[in-house]
Structures are given as C-alpha cells and as structure tokens.
Symmetry: none
Subunit: 236 residues, 4 copies
Amino acid sequence: MSRSTTARPAAGRAGPQRKPGVRERAARATRESLLRAAIKVFARHGLDGGSVGRIAAVAGSYERMIYYYFGSKEALFVAALEEIYRRFNEAEARLHLDPAQPVESLRAVVHFMFGYYRRHPEFVALLNSENLHRGRHIRKSRRAREYSSAAIGILDELLRSGAAQGLFRPGLSARDLYLLIAAAGYFYQSNRFTLSAFLGENLEAPEAIARWEAFVQDSVLRTVLAVLPAREVASA
Amino acid sequence: MSRSTTARPAAGRAGPQRKPGVRERAARATRESLLRAAIKVFARHGLDGGSVGRIAAVAGSYERMIYYYFGSKEALFVAALEEIYRRFNEAEARLHLDPAQPVESLRAVVHFMFGYYRRHPEFVALLNSENLHRGRHIRKSRRAREYSSAAIGILDELLRSGAAQGLFRPGLSARDLYLLIAAAGYFYQSNRFTLSAFLGENLEAPEAIARWEAFVQDSVLRTVLAVLPAREVASA
Amino acid sequence: MSRSTTARPAAGRAGPQRKPGVRERAARATRESLLRAAIKVFARHGLDGGSVGRIAAVAGSYERMIYYYFGSKEALFVAALEEIYRRFNEAEARLHLDPAQPVESLRAVVHFMFGYYRRHPEFVALLNSENLHRGRHIRKSRRAREYSSAAIGILDELLRSGAAQGLFRPGLSARDLYLLIAAAGYFYQSNRFTLSAFLGENLEAPEAIARWEAFVQDSVLRTVLAVLPAREVASA
Amino acid sequence: MSRSTTARPAAGRAGPQRKPGVRERAARATRESLLRAAIKVFARHGLDGGSVGRIAAVAGSYERMIYYYFGSKEALFVAALEEIYRRFNEAEARLHLDPAQPVESLRAVVHFMFGYYRRHPEFVALLNSENLHRGRHIRKSRRAREYSSAAIGILDELLRSGAAQGLFRPGLSARDLYLLIAAAGYFYQSNRFTLSAFLGENLEAPEAIARWEAFVQDSVLRTVLAVLPAREVASA
DNA sequence: CATGAATGAGCTTTCATTCAT
DNA sequence: CATGAATGAAAGCTCATTCAT
C-alpha cells in the first residue's frame, strides 16, 4: 500500500562516503533545484495555490521527478518546511553572541531576527501556509522539531547574564521574550501588504523599517531592564 | 473578470429605503449565508484551497448563486474581506475608553485585541490569505480602507492624555504602539500551530494565553510609562 | 466530505410525473449515452483498462459529465453493472414458459441463456470484471441484489412440475441446475478466445455453437429425466 | 514494441546444459521471482490493473529488471500465461488414470479439475484477463498451444474404453465432455463473487463446494452412461 | 428569479518505458 | 551485470465559470 512503486533514492545523508559520480551529482542537483523551486513557489502561492506543474517548470525539471524524489506534493511541502527551518537554524547558529554583554547581545538578536524575516520572506510565507493547515505537516516531521530549542536557550543565557550583572530584571522568561521579538518582526513582514493599505504608508521603505526596529529595540530593552535610564534608551 | 453575467440585485448599500418584500428578504438571506460560508471556508482553506463548491455546500445553496450575487470567486473573497474588517471595526467601536485613565484604557485595548484575535480566527486567517496574495484585493476595496484610522486615533488620544498627566513618555507614536500590540496578539494566534510544535507546549491552553497577555501588558506599559513603579508593573 | 460539490440530479425514477422539458430530455439523453458508452468500454477493456476519457469520447460527451451524473468512475461502473443486470432480468421476464410442459420449457431456458450470453458479450465481460474485483461493487448495490431470485424460481417451478408428472427425478435443486446451465453457456462465451486457441477451432462458428448447445441440452435433460429413452434424447 | 533494449539473457530453454555458476543462478532466481510476482499481480489486478511497479515490489526487485529479463510488460504477461499453462499441464500429467475403470477415472478427472481451479485461482484469473484481451497473447505463443491436446486425449480414451465395456454411450465427443467439466468447475470458481451475491450464499464454504462437485459428478455420469442404475448414481 | 446542464482547463498522480553509466 | 535517473503520456478528478431555459 506504500505509495512509491519506484524505489526512491535514500534521500539525505549517505552512509559510507563514496566519491559521487557524475550521475549522482546531477541527480542531487535535480533534487535540490526541485526543493528550491518548491520553496519559492509554495512561498508565493501557498500549498494549495502552488502547483507541482509550476514547481517543475521553475526547477527546469519534470513533474514526474517530484514524485521520484519526494513521493507526493505534500511530502515535498514537508521537505520545503524542513529546509527553511534548517536554514534558519543555521543562520541562527552563525550568530555569535557575548553573554558578558547582554544589552548589546539582545540588540543583536532583535536585529538578526528582523533582518532574517525581511531577507527571507519565504520563511514567513511557508510558516503561514503551514499554520493555515493547522500544523499538520510539522507535527509529523521529526527533523523540524529538533531545530526548536537553540534560539530560546541563547536568550535564556542572555537574560541570566543580564540579571547577574544587575542590568536585567530577574525571573524573566526567555520564551516570552522570544515570542515578543519574533512577533514584532514576523508580523511586520507577514502582514506588510494589509498593513500598508491599512496605514496608508509603505512599510517596506527603509526608513519605515528602521523606525520599526528602533521602536521594538526600545520596547524589548524596557521590558527587561531593571532600571530605565530615561534618555539613553528612549532615543535609541 | 467582467462581472455582469446577469443583472445582479443591487448588492450592498440600498439607495432609497423601501420596506423589503418577502422575495427581497429571502434573497438577502441567501446572500448573507453565502458570505458567511465564504468567510468560514476561506478562513479554513485559504483563497485557493476554498472552492466555490464547498462554499455553496456550506451555505446550503448553489454555486450558481455565488455568481449571481457576487459575480466571481474573487469578488466574493473581497466581500468576505470587507465583512471581517467591518466586523472588527464595529467591535472596536463598542470599546468605550476613558482617556482620563490612560493606563487602564491601554490595558483594555490590549485585552480587547488579544481577545478579538482569539475569538475571531477567521479574521486572522483571511488577512493571512490576503497577504499571501500581496494585498491585491484590499488595495482595490475602497470600503476596507475606511476602516483604518479609528483604532490608531484612539491610541493616540490615550498616549497624549497619559503624557499630559506625566504618566507616559511624551512623543510616542500611536502607530508604533498599535503595531506592537497587534503583532503580539496576532502572531500568537496566527502561528499557534507551528509555535506549539516549536515550543513543545500547547499555546491554546488558558494558562498559556493568560501568561502571554500578562507579559505583553507588562511590556506595553513599560514601553510607554515615564517612570516604572518597580513592583506594581513588574508583577502584572 | 461527500464528493459531489455540484448538486447532482436525482438519478433514477422521478417522483411526481411532470412533463419533461427539452432541457430535461437532453440531460437524460446525455446520461444514458454515457451509461451505454460505459458498458461498451468497460466490457471491452475492463474496469481498469476502460478510461473515463474513452467513455466520454464514445458517448460524444465530456469526461466532466461522468462526474456530474455519476460522481466517479467507480460509481459509473456500478451503474453499468446494475444496468446489465436490469436488462438481463428484463429479458428473462419476457421468457414465457409453460410449466405444464417442463421438458420443452427447460429446453427453452437453456436456449434463452445460451442466446443471451452470446448476444450480450458485455454482460459476460462486465461480470468478469466484477469478479476480478472480488465482487466489491455488486456487494454494495442494493438494486443488483433484487434481480436475483426470479430465474431460479422459474426453474424450481419447472422441476416440480416435471417431477409431479413423473418426468423428472424428484428432489432436484433448481439452484444447482441453474448453475450448470449458466456455467455451460457462460464459460463457452467468456473463454471463447483461449478455448479457440486451445482447441484449435473457432468456437464462434455457427455449427460449433449449435453443436455445443445440443450437447448441453442433452446433458441437462439427462440430468433431470427420471427415465432415459435411449434414442430420443441422445440424438436431440 | 521492439524488444531488444539490451542484450537479454537467453530466457527460456537453455541449449547445451552447462552447470550454472553463482551469477547465473542469482539471475535465474531474479527472473523466477519476477515471473511468480507477475502471475500473482496479474491474477489479482488484471493486465491493465497490474502495474510493473507493483510486480517489481512484490518480487523485491526493480522495474528495470522486468525489461531486462522480459522486454516489456506484455511479454511478461505472455510468460506468465505460458507458465500457468505449463503448470496446469504438469499437474494433469501427474494424474494417472486407469482406462480399464472408466467410471472411476472420469470421476477422478472431474475431481482433479474442480480441485485445480479452486487451488489455483491465478489460473482462472489469468485466463479471464487473456479473454478480455481477446486471446491476443496466447495466439502469439507457440508454447501455450502445445499444452492443449493431452487432456482431451485422455478423456477420449476413457470414453472409448467405457463404450467398449458397454458402460458409456458410444459416439460421445471428448471435447464436448471436457468443455462441460471445465465449464462447471471454472465458472463456479471464476464467478464465485457475483454468484455469491446473486444467490445470497457463500460459494466458498466447504459444504457448498462439495455439493456442487457431487451434482456435477452426477450430471457428467448421466451424460455418458448408457444405462442408469437408478439408485447408485442418483444419490452420488 | 432561479437553477440544472454544460464546459474545458487544470489539478495531482501513476504509468510503461528508455537513458546512461 | 545491474541499477539509479529520466521521461512524457495519460490517468482520474476538481476547478471556476457560462449557457440556456
């Protein structure tokens, strides 16, 4: 009853490290271009609106290959989800922070997340699609779950360090703070079209972006700081 | 895209106010049930995923009627968008605030918005769909634009009043604060499925909701207050 | 979750007898031509081999109409099955037998069945398809079951009458006799191609057919007769 | 349709009998498992319904191997047909009959065929598929034709012997009798699903099977016997 | 006013088969 | 010898929409 009548290639990490032949390399390229195309198309049109035909066309491949490598449209969507999570995680890991300087580090975190969402609208769009589908796919993916904890762990370290130095209020929840930062960055990116119409201004203008980030930086710091130096922080 | 397939009944604002006959009332009921069904279906499945067939079925009507009353699927989506904006505006208008008590009023605003998003997931879902489609429909709708300014106007009034009383910092942007509140409430609702998977906890549990609102209330107030009465606010 | 998004016309016997309009008559013609085409195509190519595309083409209609009137390929197959059963039943009902003359009547039954199978290869072919699918469809069809009992009831009457007259052996089972007659006629028709290859002769030649029927007539009568008048029956 | 895509191993009768090496033995095993799988799958799903993918999966091999060893799906079907004919012939050959005891031998023939059909539903199912396809494949197969005559030859011997002993009527056709026996056994097996629905009883129950064989034994003997010993045969 | 019938493009998926190492 | 990769046609089915009374 399993769907794949054709033996699928063992996607993912190969065991014993052979030198890949020409054929193998081309195959991997095909698979990857399909995945990249899927991310692009699903991000632009959603899971329902993004057809396998369009994905194949964007990848310069054939619809059939999607089924060869991924098995189904839905499985391709899961793979796309996992990939954007993986990329986000990777980018996050590259963000080196100094716990000894909690204020600057916290600012850096906000800056990173705002920048990431803006430079990766496909991340935001795919997550929206997944939420439209009530998290059906992510729930099934073991891999996606693994990427979770790191970000909050980092924040927690910063909060503890800040509190130890007497800079931050003690007892703050890293999870809550993470949500606040994510919400501010995500919502601005995700809803930029309706917000632009609603507010009558273009939220994608650089000044608008800068102003928003400054405001949130301010708000986040005020949320955590033990003592508010009236001038300094307000005019960040 | 031409919308006049058949002479449509004058959908929308009736001109001279006649007493509606039986026929007219039945027609209006059909139209409304279609609209309600559209909101439900589009919210659940998105614009692409929600078919006119399903909408007609949910409304207990015929697909043909959608074309009769709305002209096209897209026009029906626009009508659905307008309707949820209208409802939101209406709810907002029912929120009576006392500018003389800016702190309590601000808390009430946060509470209202958090509650609205939670009780009206279709509002959140439809806006997400619209943003996936890059604001294509809202941009065309005159009506939706009208609903914009009220909310921010109210906030502005509160901020001014608070500043005048020496409670709030002066010079704060109502727009920025509005976005922060909206972001915190919206993101939590919109992304509850991926977040629940990501965080490994159920964000729809009452305690989780309460905790989140408390945190945001705190954060919002810390953002605006001129002086922080250490205990009171911290332990909101 | 029901499959038909479009309201399907109430297939089958209409309740209150209105005079059908032009439109209605055309619709019925469409439906019937699709059903006829389905019987033809399924009989020739089987359930799997017969595509809805081909059926639509043979009917001079559109594939879409199959879904409009029948809902699915499988449901169309069920309708085809029911129709050939109905036709067989109808033909059987037209066979008027005189229980007072059991020998002649029995001969007539054999003759009828042999002729029916030969003139209606689609009946045989569709039943074969249904058996390949392990009776999955017929089991679900209430209507098909209704057509069952008549044939055997008639045979039973003949056997009783013959026994009462002292012509037939008493205690014979109509069901067994029915199966024997059906088997002989059906198998000859159903397996005519492999048998022709196997035997090296064309079983569809009129003489071959006549010879076979004569043999079976003889065999059936010898099975039921109480006394065998050596010459008479042997050279039927 | 051209079948030489790659130099095929000499499928079928090996010429000069060399001792097979390890490679050769593995190859033969692959070929045989594919053939066995093909018989199983074609029997269950028909020629059109049985996909090469499923056959390869059941065989635990690759689709490509089907083309390697057999050249095409159709050629594989022909091979499957030939194989089941071969098996049937082989089983028939193991049936040793004593022409001096024609009645017992005839009974044994009926018993053998009934048992074979029942224990080898794939034989019945494949022949049905082949007949659906109008004998297209068997006509092309030299080998299948060879298996024909034996069975009827045996019956002919029995009929002659019986007639010589005065037990059987003279002049009976072995071919006709063979068809009658085959029809009775085959039809019961082939149509067991529709018949079970039609008759409202389970034809696969042991008692039903026994009753049917007894009835047919009786009928066959009554067809051939010159004189009927009233009691003995009637209550077979 | 209202609604069954019709329509064709497009969807996801599976098919048998061939290519290239 | 063996097998992953590729291919395009065709499958069943759903879609939004229009026709015609």
